[in-house]
């Protein structure tokens, strides 16, 4: 169990990652984002960088939400681009090719991002 309290990043009903939602929609759904194309990535990575390293993966799990609870997700179901497709991109946001941010695992990726793996590391309540 990490010492960092990640509650602030996994408790609010509204996602703290609005630019990441734009970036995900741009990359997964071909939806144009405000400003030049690189801006969404830049701002999204900034949002993720502001989250403590220990909490980034948890925040991303919370951002995706459970498949059965679209009402609790930061992602929107879109015509031709379902939430599940967008979730694939959320899972790799911290990797070297995108935001390149270290996580609780001291590497730039998140483990256990499948929903069935969440219970150990993520409290849904």
């Amino acid at each position: 169990v990490g010492s960092e309290d990640c509650t602030p990043w996994t408790a609010t009903p509204i996602t703290p990652l609005p630019s990441c939602r734009d970036y995900v929609e741009q990359q997964a759904c071909r939806i144009e984002t405000p400003g030049p194309p690189y801006l969404a990535k830049q701002q999204c990575c900034g949002e993720l960088a502001n989250i403590p390293q220990q909490c980034r993966c948890q925040a991303l799990r919370f951002f995706m939400g459970r498949k059965s609870r679209p009402d609790q997700s930061g992602l929107m179901e879109l015509p031709g681009c379902p939430r599940e497709v967008q979730m694939d991109f959320v899972r790799i946001l911290v990797t070297p090719g995108f935001c390149n941010l270290t996580t609780v695992h001291n590497t730039p990726y998140c483990l256990a991002m499948d929903e069935w793996q969440w219970n150990r590391q993520f409290c849904s309540s």
Binding site: I31, F89, I92, T95, P96, P108, M113
Partner: protein
């Protein structure tokens, strides 16, 4: 094998050494092998030799590779691509061994990370290619239907 598998069999509907450019694109996007200063060993960054100064060509060529696969078989091909056996050890690309298709485990960028991006390759924001159900994504792509 199910009836659908005969329609999209590896080696029939698509070549078994498929998607070499897509592998480059996945490595580029997920693992940043083209990024100067990345911590990856030099042999891994050699993929840049294929696209000197034009990294966007990786995406273009990858999308062409996918477009050449029949629409009904694109998701099957991606499943095959994700599950292909790969060299367990880094191999000098000059020997051609890593030229085989399939994903590679890289230090700091394991295959699991790359698979998430492979699933996205046909999505509207990437190659924007229709698949088996006339949608632009692969439903339940993790399930190895072709086995």
């Amino acid at each position: 094998a199910a009836a659908a598998a005969t329609d999209c069999s590896p080696g029939v509907a698509f070549p078994t050494n498929l998607l070499g450019h897509c592998r480059d694109y996945v490595l580029q996007q997920t693992c940043a092998v083209f990024t100067p200063g990345s911590k990856l060993p030099e042999w891994m960054t050699s993929a840049e030799l294929n696209y000197p100064g034009q990294p966007y060509l990786a995406k273009l060529y990858c999308c062409q590779e996918l477009a050449e696969i029949p629409q009904q078989c694109r998701c099957e091909a991606l499943r095959y691509f994700m599950a292909l056996p790969v060299p367990s050890q880094p191999v000098d690309p000059s020997t051609g061994n890593v030229g085989q298709s399939g994903l590679m485990d890289l230090p700091g960028c394991p295959r699991e990370m790359q698979r998430d991006f492979v699933r996205l390759l046909v999505a509207p924001g990437q190659c924007n290619l229709a698949t088996i159900h006339n949608v632009r994504y692969c439903p339940a792509v993790e399930q190895p239907l072709w086995i």
